[in-house]
Amino acid sequence: MRFVDEYRDAEKARALAAKIAALCEPGRHYKFMEVCGGHTHTIYKHGLEDYLPESVSLVHGPGCPVCVIPMGRVDDAIALAEQPDVIMTSFGDMMRVPGGRGSFFDSSAAGTDIRMVYSPLDALKVARQNPDKHVIFMAIGMETTAPSTAMTVLRAAAEGIENFSIFCNHVMIVPAIKAILDSPDLRLDGFIGPGHVSTVIGCRPYEFIASEYGKPIVTAGFEPLDILQSVYMLLQQLAEGRCEVENQYSRVVPWQGNTVALRAVGEVMELRPFFEWRGLGFISHSALQVRERYAAFDAERRFAIPGVRVADPKACQCGEVLKGVLKPWECKVFGTACTPEMPIGTCMVSSEGACAAYYNFGRFSRQRVREVTIEASRA
């Protein structure tokens, strides 16, 4: 398939892996964080770690928008869904995320009307089709999805649709990266920068990572060769003593970002003073809320939101996983008390969550399996 297969070419991967191995200084260990959950998913889905030398490890970052939603916000959303004549709409990823009182799926089984949609415009369609109900869209995502939410609000305003609002949970990746850089727990050698987010914000917002923190960052695409090439580019920077923001994903990411999308977001939304991230705690100016001007489309203004803070279950170590301090399997409850079918933490729910990716795709001993697959290629 065009535009897919060329980025999954095993021969090119082998060549790149050899170049990566050649760049690694003997005795040195490299730790790179892939910020974005989409990258984590790709890494496990394609078995990319098989190509990396043991001295290069990839640490999974906080860039999975479902994973960082605190339990209290899920409870708030369910409280909204329980209002009379409300239809709650959400991306499928959110459906199984546990709040303090269960997930959307549980709430739906108990009688609320919660529907899965593929885009906020689909939620608006539900509002048009159900004029006697109020339709709320559970808006989640980083800078990547904020523009589509904003465009939907603009569309609703232009069409004069009155039975539609959003429950805004859009968060921003840059403050989270900053929080990780400031955290004493983790020593990183560089970042694989988020690809989708950068299609919107461009690469400039990452300049402080190189200039102030002295860490190289390479914005990367989502195919396995993209990520492998980014690792190569990071190693190259380190080998040459450079520390820069580089753009591996230039076929999609413009350096300046997407000004039209940014304008739409700026029109509809503004920074929240602070927002709670699951596991990371409150981070100032790290999320978006609906501007006063579009208050009619803001579920938080239209309805009374309980706003209860729910502490994460004691056993849950999602915070450490999101910060990259723990590998998924190092969490105490990983795979036993916390599984994709009975998740305790969000990282085990979303397809972009590090725990889910490791559990679903990577839950085996690479050493043992290497023998099995070598045997397979011989057969």
Binding site: M1, V4, R8, D9, A10, A13, H29, K31, H46, G47, L48, D50, E54, M95, R96, F105, D106, S108, A109, Y118, D122, E143, V174, K178, L181, R187, I201, P205, E207, F208, L225, L262, R263, V265, G266, E270, L271, S284, H285, S286, K327, E330, G335, T336, T339, P340, E341, N360, F361, R363, F364, S365, Q367, V369, R370, E371, V372, T373, A376, S377
Partner: protein
């Protein structure tokens, strides 16, 4: 400053503003690289312990911990499996049910019969390549066929919603009759119920079937052995994607029709050619090929290793799956079988399948291995390795 001014300012640079705000207090940062503890062996050892703990947890007796039934319980993945084992099997337990095969094998005197049932709730009722009627007939025929039986008689139960058009029912029933005639089976008993408007979605169908098992093949996924070859009878995922697109919710179009078809002739050809070397067959419905391979790995205590590049997938299906973020290995088929055969008979088995029009795309996709037991591994097209696990939820509900 006017309200407008504030807006302009933040419009211009809300992303930059974040950086300014958050990077204000740069600290002394250690640019050096700490000596890393011997990451290799100790790390692998601890990870291995965790993996073993997880496998023990997975072998534990399944429990249904939810208070209410959710859609996940019907999705064919782990939740369905827990429901079946913890609720149904626990209550009905008997040696005929326990293998949880597509059909039970019952004996009456010297006669061995395969006996099966299936309910159909597909939405929409009509889709390119078929409708709920031929799906209900073919699905039950296929469950019998892959159990090594010659399908003979079917029952048909209808649950209809008040207000359902009689004309639609006639179309559905006509295609059931045609599908039964084409397969040489007769629908010999039935039942009808009508429920109030809103209490069902148009039309649900249940079919049960019996078939005669000829020959002494002892088929079952538990009989798979290391070395065996895994064969699929053609491109996967067409039914699931066709139905999904037919709902029109995705604004995607593709030139696809459902693969719904009776596979009893195809299976007969395979059994006639290499019967004693066939360990197990399954038709890949809900949960797709991946779910079947997991059943093989678990039941036989073996590993199944699949080569992603060998799995036949039509470009239209692959394209839709890429867009939707779904793995075609999990997407339902309604006329494809997965066969586990002795490696010595693999070529003959593929040839026998290819001799039938429904098996023209048959191919070997992998093999059974000893280690690691209970896992399905995929050698990815990219050259890496990963697990193919049972699905937790269903990305494509009400496909059959």
């Amino acid at each position: 400053m006017t309200h407008q001014d504030t807006t302009q300012q933040s419009r211009a640079g809300w992303a930059e503003a974040v950086v300014e705000h958050t990077s204000g207090h740069a600290e002394e940062h250690d640019a050096g690289h700490p000596a890393h503890a011997a990451a290799g062996t100790e790390h692998t050892g601890r990870e291995q312990l965790v993996l073993e703990r997880i496998e023990r947890a997975r072998r534990a007796r399944p429990r249904v911990r939810e208070k209410l039934i959710t859609l996940a319980h019907g999705a064919g993945g782990k939740a369905t499996q827990s429901l079946i084992e913890a609720i149904f099997l626990d209550a009905f337990r008997n040696p005929l049910l326990e293998p949880l095969e597509d059909a039970a094998t019952v004996t009456a005197g010297d006669v061995r019969l395969a006996f099966t049932t299936d309910s159909y709730v597909v939405s929409p009722l009509f889709f390119p390549g078929g409708n709920i009627g031929d799906l209900a007939v073919n699905g039950t025929i296929n469950d019998l066929a892959v159990s090594g039986a010659r399908p003979a008689h079917l029952s048909a139960g209808f649950i209809l919603e008040e207000g359902f058009p009689v004309e639609d029912l006639q179309r559905i029933v006509a295609s059931m009759a045609a599908a039964a005639a084409a397969a040489g089976v007769s629908i010999v008993t039935g039942d009808t119920k009508v429920v109030q408007r809103g209490k069902a979605d148009g039309c649900y169908i249940n079919t049960a079937g019996v078939g005669l098992i000829t020959g002494d093949a002892n088929l079952g996924v538990a009989t798979a052995r290391p070395g065996d070859t895994v064969i699929v009878s053609g491109p996967v995922g067409e039914h699931g994607i066709t139905v999904m697109l037919a709902r029109g919710e995705l604004d995607l179009d593709a030139d696809l029709v459902s693969d719904t078809a009776p596979v009893h002739d195809l299976v007969r050809g395979l059994l006639d050619a290499v019967g004693p070397d066939v360990r197990a067959m399954r038709d890949a419905t809900r949960g797709g090929v991946a779910t079947i391979l997991n059943e093989v790995a678990t039941a036989a205590g073996v590993a199944v290793v699949v080569d992603e590049e060998a799995v036949p997938v039509r470009p239209e299906v692959r394209g839709a799956c890429e867009l939707l973020g779904i793995d075609p290995l999990y997407v339902a088929c309604e006329g494809r079988i997965v066969a586990i055969v002795d490696p010595g008979a693999a070529d003959a088995a593929v040839a026998a399948l290819r001799a039938h029009p429904l098996g023209a795309g048959a191919t070997a996709v992998g093999h059974v291995a000893e280690d690691p037991p209970g896992l399905v591994l995929l050698k990815t097209g990219f050259g890496g390795t990963r697990i193919i696990d049972l699905l937790v939820g269903d990305p494509l509900p009400r496909i059959c």
